[in-house]
Subunit: 138 residues, 3 copies
Amino acid sequence: MKSLTEYLWMNTPTKYAFVNITPQVEELVRKSSVRDGLCLVSAMHITASVFINDNESGLHRDFAEWLEKLAPHEPISQYAHNNGEDNADAHLKRTIMGRETVVAITQSKLDFGPWEQIFYGEFDGQRRKRVLVKIIGE
Amino acid sequence: MKSLTEYLWMNTPTKYAFVNITPQVEELVRKSSVRDGLCLVSAMHITASVFINDNESGLHRDFAEWLEKLAPHEPISQYAHNNGEDNADAHLKRTIMGRETVVAITQSKLDFGPWEQIFYGEFDGQRRKRVLVKIIGE
Amino acid sequence: MKSLTEYLWMNTPTKYAFVNITPQVEELVRKSSVRDGLCLVSAMHITASVFINDNESGLHRDFAEWLEKLAPHEPISQYAHNNGEDNADAHLKRTIMGRETVVAITQSKLDFGPWEQIFYGEFDGQRRKRVLVKIIGE
């Protein structure tokens, strides 16, 4: 069994952001020299997300508006967690979008459908956070 | 390490559908001859889902109604993505239901609780799409 | 490849509960003697959840209230599934929170960010249920 463990550092200039991390993950798959296996990509922080969807800016605006409706940031005081914090909504938003994704590696590549791309979803940014990439296989 | 990679083709006659794919996945576990390992089942299209829940038709109607409330199809124009498209809601619905599931294989079987079944969730059907099954273990 | 399969029994005294199961999972990682691999933790019942978030009681109250808003328990009769049952909402709540999580094992430990903890989420408790822990790696 081969394995590779790497960490991607993120620091988004805005509070909310979606960042396409597919190229970095593809590079790590090459580096691992795994032909057949699994690739776990997970947010190491609990107000951020890793998910797979379409690389389309209109859709990303839709996601942001929709998440704001399902888990609004304001009023801050509506959340018990916001006692010296203001990011309770970020925990809820990340829950909707998911913490992690597991992608198959086949013939040394991410085994993706035509539109699948991996995104980092930030809901409480402007600070350094990490994404974990763990590859196992052979 | 053994591995198996297979693709299930889906083409639902309706726009929305839940399809029980447990028998096909069980057959692939047998074919893999993996006794102990992990089985990833994932939707390769970003308007479809793979999830685990109960095989109960009333519950499936509840899921459909609930998703329509959380991410309504209409009005189409409410979504920035719907610029020549009309499936933005399908991307949101699939996000709630999830892209993938990872199931343990123990003693050559899917290691399931009493009611767990694997479903393909289609939110923009009437076209050919694929589900990936990746099994690794020994 | 090494592997370990264990089941944690849960029986919460209340209908709704979040239980921190990180210590038990850490103990199983030690027992597996896997240095590098993946750890799947999944709810074996379809009205329960396994998820990763913060161990903060205010946030847990926020999660409970939020889930009640997104998928209310009452009126019971609003759900087709509630035909002799009253737990349709529990299936929906578990869908939001997720069935499973996959955590990397690096240097014989759960490879966690600073605040990540694993929780069992119960939405129809007061009965015995199981959580599966499957570890593979070497």
